[in-house]
């Protein structure tokens, strides 16, 4: 039995610690200098950068979305698009020494992200960046986004095949899971990883996208499993589809986590009925007429066919 007082005390303590950190952070923090002094304070202007980095300059100022930085005076870097990320470049331009120019690729991920977030912190896709798994694992924006490319929205892969390839380049284990015979059609590029996951992070577990507000991304395609059902199957709502299915791929039909349906069911439906919460867990043992020696009872979904929830039958039979 959880101790409610203990829980409350813990929550208060957490809030207290957070408040202390927040306030002390404010007192301690200095406004970060976006450009270290070593790089100098003088700007050179994009025209100067263009002399040596013509390709990058041309790309950025043609159809790259960042061209707006070069032209829009409101953004504060008109005619200085290069230096909006790389910092003042006059000293680098005069000496040619790379030590005097900031390269985001050489910064720590946190510092590199800070440059991007100077402008992009408050955009929709970055809502979860604070809690983002990529961010927590020190994967910077520039790991996926190429800043200097020429082409509308092509700072990152857009085609299904390219998106999947980009994700697989780090997530080799997930790539391997999609080789299993029963799988979502990622290798066929009928789907992309970003159909289900938000790479910028989202508070949901596994950086899952959401459907219709707050529902799991599986329902984007499997709308018939959404309900609400008159008689719900609790794990579907509480733990989601992955309670019974391997979401990427499986050796078992229907991408199940076990090779036989009855195993999936009986591993939860094994508790004797009780009226005391916390004694075991949800899922009571089936009535005794379920004789597992009979083929009829070895495939639970033969009878309990509406296993995701039923509109008409409390036992999920129809």
């Amino acid at each position: 039995m959880p101790n409610i007082d203990l829980v409350r005390r813990r929550n208060f303590a957490l809030c207290g610690v957070a408040a202390f950190l927040f306030i002390s952070g404010g007192l301690q923090a200095q406004r970060p200098t976006t450009v270290p002094k070593a790089f100098g304070d003088e700007y050179a202007g994009s025209a100067t950068c263009q002399i040596c980095h013509e390709d990058n300059f041309n790309n950025v100022t043609k159809t790259n979305p960042h061209r707006v930085v070069e032209t829009d005076k409101k953004l504060g870097f008109a005619d200085h698009v290069c230096e909006s990320c790389h910092g003042p470049g006059a000293k680098h331009a005069s000496t040619g020494d790379v030590a005097f120019i900031r390269s985001p690729l050489k910064l720590s991920p946190g510092e590199a992200d800070k440059i991007c977030l100077n402008c992009h912190a408050n955009q929709q896709t970055h809502l979860g960046l604070i809690q983002n798994s990529h961010s927590k694992f020190a994967i910077a924006c520039v790991s996926c986004h190429k800043m200097h490319v020429n082409g509308g929205a092509l700072l990152v892969a857009r085609k299904n095949a390219d998106v999947n390839q980009l994700c697989e380049s780090c997530h080799a284990n997930v790539k391997a899971q999609f080789l299993m015979p029963y799988r979502h059609k990622i290798p066929e590029n009928a789907m992309t990883c970003t159909d289900c996951h938000n790479p910028h992070g989202i508070p949901r577990q596994g950086m899952q996208q959401s459907f219709a507000g707050s529902e799991p991304p599986c329902l984007t395609c499997h709308g018939d499993k959404r309900g609400p059902f008159t008689f719900e199957h609790a794990p579907v709502k509480f733990e989601g589809c992955t309670a019974c299915h391997e979401q990427h791929g499986s050796a078992n039909p229907r991408m199940l986590i076990r090779h036989e349906v009855r195993q999936v069911c009986l591993e939860c439906h094994a508790n004797m009925p009780t009226s005391t919460p916390g004694v075991n867990a949800m899922g009571v043992v089936p009535p005794a007429f379920h004789d597992l020696r009979s083929a009829r009872y070895q495939n639970c979904t033969i009878c309990h066919q509406k296993i995701h929830g039923s509109y008409v039958d409390r036992n999920l039979l129809k």
Partner: protein, 688 residues
Amino acid sequence: MRRLLISAGIAAGVIGMLPLAFAQQAPVPAVSPAPATTPAAPASPASDATPATSTPIASAAAEARPAGEYRITGSLDVGYRWLDGPGGSFETYRSVVNLGSGVKLIGLDLAIANPSRKWFENAHIRAFNWGNDPYATFHADAEKSRIYRLNVDYRGISYFNNLPSYADPLLAKGITLNEQSFDTHRRLSSVRLEILPGRAFTPYVSAERDARSGSVVTVFHSDNNDYPVAGVTRDSTNLVRAGVRISFRRVRATLEEGYTNFRNDQSDSTGPTNYGNTSVQTLGQTLDLTSLAQSYGIRGNSHYTKADFTASPFSWADIYAQFTYTTPHTTVNYTQYDTGSLVLLNQVLFFSGQQYLVNATASFPHTTANAGWEIRPYRRVRILQSFQTDRMTNTGSAAQADTLLAGTATVSQTALALASTLGMDSSQVDISILFDAGRKFTLRGGYRYVWGNANDVVSPQEGLYTIASEKLQRNIGMGAVSWRPSQKVLLSGDAEVGTSAGTYFRTSLYDYQKVRAMGRYKLLKSWQISGDFRILMNRNPLAGSSYHFLSRQESATLTWLPSGKKLSVDATWEHCTYQSTVSYLIPQLLVGADSVYSEDCHRISGMLNATLRGLHKRAATLEAGGAAVITTGSRPTTDYQPTARLTAPLTKNVAAFGEWRYYGFGESFYQYESFRAHLVTVGLRFTR
């Protein structure tokens, strides 16, 4: 073979005629699209190297065109595919692969630039796998800077599933019929329009539709027997949402309102006399089903409200909050008329006809909210804290009327009103501290606490005590390290340890340890190796559970991309282990037994790309590789998919290609589900 080649030639010729105009008067290509199967680029940070999408020459050539002329670049792949076989189980082939013969639009990828910028500046059109393939996609987007952005997406996915090993109680009698099989087609489409993107106020509207239709084999359950019956199913979900994004330098908010409309109709029927899965007589009588008209009419709708907010009030702090409220609702009209020799066993009542009607409703208000902040008290320290809560309650009610007939006489009539409630309140707090020990070294430590309550009740109760009510309480400690000694090397690892005092389900995470380690090393300029290791151990010590779960995966990837690019190799190997043991009660005996699952798998994939000398000094490319899966344990399976593809340029803008693929699938315990098939595709690629 000869016929195959002749057919290939004819098909290629016919197909070549179709897009001839596409290749005519093609200008100097501004884009050199990479083959779709080019191996993954090394997983290094995005390079600053000059991208392949533009060259100064191409840019100059493009700019020399008269204003107003569209600049179209891209590729079109068309071809014909032959399916040889499949040998073995055609049903399994369709369930797993489902590729057929015929003319195919393999890929279309166009980028359109409009120098005049009238109506649009850039547009992209992509379409893949058209021509009766099981997964066809189409995507188009267009934009005009700071005016609008439009995305259109369509996917057609065929879903066929007929695997007797999944659900066939008649297998012992030699009947291979999956009584839960599907032959359906799903169509997903969406249109999204953003107005004034990039400005302070950006309204947007989106319409999405998910529709499925097809036939099913399902089961009509009638007390002591179950009858496989055929059905037709059709469902659709329409979602319309609109909102506005408000963006200022330090504050951003989004307000969104959405509405869904849902309908699901299924009707099932049976042939003249259906003896069902049970041939054993019941109390001396043979049960059968002679007619069935069963239909589900489900209608639903929901609306949701979503608001999120982010702000950077200080240079050292970011905060965010999100709130979502949804209220899905469904109504159900179920009708069932069936005749035959049927029984109600608990009353020892035989009857010849039944009318069963149900009217039901369900409502599912669901609230989620989360808030958090990141503060950076020092240059090297980030503190992240979040709180989130998830609250849902489903209330359902059903009015059931059941009439049993013997001939035309009513032998039993019952009416029942049922009510159900499923509820859950779950919350968690999470705090993490990240410390950049240097530019190359980051440490993270954190703590998470998760708690909640859940209950599941249907009344009036039947049988034993069936109110389920459980609590969740879990403490989790987290730690991670990331080390980047140079741009050539990346090492990272993280660990998570959780202990629980209660969970909702026996197989949920209880007392667990999770470890992950990843490394990447750029051996030489052209070689890169990376490795990944992860392990999860979970244990539920509650009496009667004795749950032990182990999941372990090790993978290694090798990428060789020499500077000449005449040859490249990309290969991945992974080994996985799953072991699970949990106690359960055998229902008919109420004695304990162990449910054991084990899986040990090797998964390999790789591709070799080679540039060969082709016709007229134009380089041809050869890609060869594929994938293989070998699993042992509870369901030993082999799945081989070797492939090879040769692309040979014919002219500056036209290339011919030929592709061979093999699918070989086998299961030791279910050999009747094995299959093998060869697929040969020939076609032409047009680029400009």
